[in-house]
């Protein structure tokens, strides 16, 4: 499906640009977009290096394991497939905590770390396990308590009350995280046989 979406973005984009007389813009985009992509990743690389380093310190102190044991009662409800007494629960809970605080650059390395542990638990197969899909869905719906980016943006664009939306965002992101978990369960039970 990624393949189809990817191809369609190019086909519709270029065909419509020809029809719409925007072929010069397309040429510019083809020149600039790859560079933009590398710039974006370079910026992220610094953050990934830093936060993964911090994370490794926490792990070597035994903090991740401790946290994993304490939070297991909660994460087992969302990820019933994962074994008890495994550090993956620590990464999962930290990933969610970082999301809640609006720290996107911290939550991604934590999420990737959890994905990596899940891949090991799944016998290093190159197909997604049930819990990987749950994690990705929860991250795309993203439970938020402190939407810092959007508040500063609203301030810049002259909002009389930039923080007015905080309770709305908390409520909506909570509900959509719940629907993400429900949708994930439904899709899992419909596709259960394919996982074996």
């Amino acid at each position: 499906m990624v393949n189809k979406i990817w191809l369609l973005l190019f086909i519709i984009g270029i065909a419509f640009a020809i029809y719409n007389n925007r072929i010069i813009e397309i040429n510019n985009t083809l020149l600039e977009a790859p560079q933009e992509a590398v710039k974006l990743i370079l910026n992220l690389t610094g953050l990934y290096i830093f936060w993964n380093g911090i994370l490794q310190i926490a792990k070597d102190c035994g903090l991740i394991e401790k946290f994993a044991r304490r939070i297991y009662f909660l994460t087992k409800l969302i990820y019933p497939e994962l074994p008890e007494n495994h550090e993956v629960h620590g990464y999962l809970a930290s990933n969610m905590a970082a999301n809640m605080l609006g720290l996107g650059s911290v939550s991604t390395p934590l999420g990737i770390k959890a994905m990596e542990e899940m891949k090991k638990l799944n016998g290093n197969k190159d197909s997604a396990s049930r819990s990987m899909l749950t994690l990705v869905l929860i991250n795309s719906s993203c439970l938020t308590l402190l939407p810092t980016t959007i508040i500063s943006l609203r301030k810049v664009y002259g909002s009389s009350d930039p923080t007015k939306i905080i309770p709305l965002i908390i409520l909506i992101s909570f509900l959509t995280t719940m629907t993400a978990i429900i949708i994930d369960r439904i899709f899992y039970f419909l596709n259960k046989k394919k996982f074996k």
Binding site: I26, T29, N52, L133, L137, S140, T144, I165, N191
Partner: protein, 170 residues
């Protein structure tokens, strides 16, 4: 009131003090983790680049804007907010650009401004999350990830619309 600026520094200093107390070689640990972080960003680069190039081409054709303007003639839905909702799951940069246009055209505290704010603030770019998370660990068969993610995006638009509508009519 802005205590949020303390979160990261306090987390880091607490960790450093704990590491000192535990007598572990924190510097070595940091380097080990940092190397892994470098590996992740190296792994995701081709995935992210391929998506950014494709969405940029799609965006610069103005296909979505043209189609939504056409639909606006039928008075179904505001064309700018529809453009925003179409871009939201596929491109973070595009949806942010449309959000700024909505702020400028309708104001941050209009119905559309608030609706776009809460949608932007309460979800992440689905396609980006999927490509980064699965790309970083080299998982190719992603099953129903896209279908389920997009379905949840549509549901979140409906929930968001309902709640903003209730909130503003009280």
């Amino acid at each position: 009131m802005n205590y949020s600026v303390y979160i990261i520094p306090v987390i880091i200093i607490s960790l450093m003090i704990y590491a000192y107390h535990k007598k572990i070689n924190a510097y070595e640990s940091f380097i080990k983790g940092a190397k892994e972080g470098l590996k992740y960003s190296f792994e995701i680069l081709p995935y992210v680049a391929s998506m950014i190039i494709a969405t940029s081409v799609f965006r610069s054709s103005l296909f979505v804007e043209t189609v939504t303007k056409f639909l606006n003639l039928a008075k179904i839905i505001n064309s700018d907010i529809l453009t925003f909702m179409i871009f939201k799951p596929i491109s973070g940069m595009a949806s942010l650009a449309v959000l700024k246009e909505i702020y400028q055209t309708y104001g941050t505290d209009s119905f559309l401004g608030i609706f776009a704010s809460v949608i932007q603030g309460s979800s992440d770019t689905t396609l980006y999350i999927i490509t980064v998370y699965f790309g970083a660990i080299g998982v190719k068969e992603i099953r129903y990830a896209i279908k389920a993610g997009l379905l949840n995006d549509i549901i979140s638009f409906l929930i968001g619309f309902l709640i903003v509508w209730l909130f503003l009519s009280v």
